[in-house]
Assembly symmetry: C2
């Protein structure tokens, strides 16, 4: 059991970690650290957290386990102060959607202070954000990717693994760089493409949007997600996103070429192959 769990950033993910940890009695005390004390006050009043503070050192100075759950750029900005304030030996993890830069920074800063960092990426987002939509069951059945490295402390890895398992998640381990390529392909690319799809219709004729049916709505749902959060993800994962975009352009060129050549049988074969891949998704 965690003695003092500190959560920095009480949005959808941080709030859901707090709610889930409280519901399962995984920590004796839960402290929330954020920029806006008034906004966090809801969580204190509803019993999800025991204490809220806008002062990082005050909030995490005595924590044995800390989760940073801010957007990616904020996380990189906060890391020095967090590693400075945490007691030696504390376990630190995050919920960032990109990993290579975060893990490198956190390991560098953490090592100097004996803070034991393990990168986490719970794949349980939503196009909504904020504590109001946080749920104790958000991680049940969700995939959480851990990105330990050869420098990671084995005991800290076991503790982070145990926390996510206790919240109901399915755990996968990947190298930070492999993680960034994988999420570029299955999350960041589809997101940028959904944005471009909406914009393509605006460019052709915005009136067409009145005819949008379920297919268009499903395909573009993620285009309604937080612009600030996705700005940071796209920028931070630029190299892997560029690789995914290149693969996507090849795939699209290939399909478009078959359509332009009016090769019906080849088109049907390709659509059948892709349908089978899609149907095998978990």
């Amino acid at each position: 059991m965690i003695d003092r769990l500190a959560i920095v950033g009480l949005g959808l993910l941080g709030g859901s970690v707090a709610r889930a940890a409280r519901a399962r009695s995984l920590a004796r005390e839960i402290v929330a650290v954020g920029r806006d004390a008034r906004r966090m006050e809801t969580a204190r009043r509803d019993g999800t957290v025991d204490r809220v503070t806008t002062d990082i050192a005050d909030g995490i100075g005595a924590a044995d386990f800390c989760v940073i759950a801010t957007p990616v750029a904020t996380l990189l900005d906060l890391l020095p102060a967090v590693c400075q304030a945490l007691p030696a030996g504390a376990v630190l993890t995050d919920v960032g959607s990109t990993k290579a830069r975060i893990v490198a920074e956190a390991e560098r800063l953490g090592q100097a202070r004996s803070v034991r960092f393990i990168g986490s990426h719970p794949m349980a987002g939503s196009e909504q954000s904020g504590y109001a939509v946080a749920r104790a069951d958000l991680f049940e059945g969700a995939t959480v990717i851990l990105t330990p490295t050869e420098r990671s402390d084995r005991d800290a890895l076991a503790q982070v693994d145990r926390l996510w398992r206790a919240l109901g998640a399915r755990l996968v381990r990947l190298e930070p760089a492999a993680h960034d390529r994988a999420v570029a392909a299955i999350s960041h690319l589809p997101h940028l493409v959904a944005d471009a799809l909406v914009d393509a219709v605006v460019r052709m004729d915005p009136a067409f949007l009145d005819l949008a049916a379920r297919g268009f709505k499903d395909t573009t749902r993620i285009a309604a997600a937080s612009p600030l959060m996705w700005r940071e993800i796209f920028l931070d994962n630029r190299p892997a996103l560029a690789e995914a975009l290149a693969a996507f352009r090849k795939a699209l060129d290939h399909l478009e070429g078959i359509v332009a050549a009016e090769d019906g049988p080849a088109l049907e074969r390709e659509l059948e192959r892709i349908k089978q891949v899609r149907e095998r998704l978990p």
Copy 2:
């Protein structure tokens, strides 16, 4: 009330027209015409249709209202025989996802035989197909686009309009060419893009698919639709699809350029603008 309603092609859409018309008693008799009598027999036994036949002339020779509900290419192949067999004055409509070619052909063939054609496109598909998934409520709240031209018979237009309204649909009227551009933008483009997204991940590393979360599944759901049906739609709507693809590439290039330039504020502004468009969708 329709006296004898003939439905050519008893799949998801044709079957749903039959079920909905029967449930609302919109026709005295419903006849299904298809290639496979055994497959249609289910609909006769469950009371949805009164008679099934594989012979077009036999099935529609005495119909006053006929709906062709086959895939697009089959529809174009069947049109001559259908217009030949229908009695003079009969109303003919379809459910095709493309309209310019179908309307031109049907008006040309229909005129010679006094068959009154009105193009329909019910936007109520699914990634599933076949009579087994047909539903009496499929068109409730769905948008049906009618594509009358200056050559259309006003009384036939009123009858087709009345049928879809009786099935619960919201009606929109567009010129055939405008229809094809609109559906290229909001249906055919997203579909081809969803296919390319799935294939892009296969090209990068198929193992990444194991990590697919809700966002990827939503965005690529339509990639599981019928390859035969979509082969015909993509090929038939080639020119409008090419225009939509060009608009999409411009939109994607624009976003990718901002990411490559690491212009955070511009990226956030664009994502915010697109999010607002997406959120206004009906």
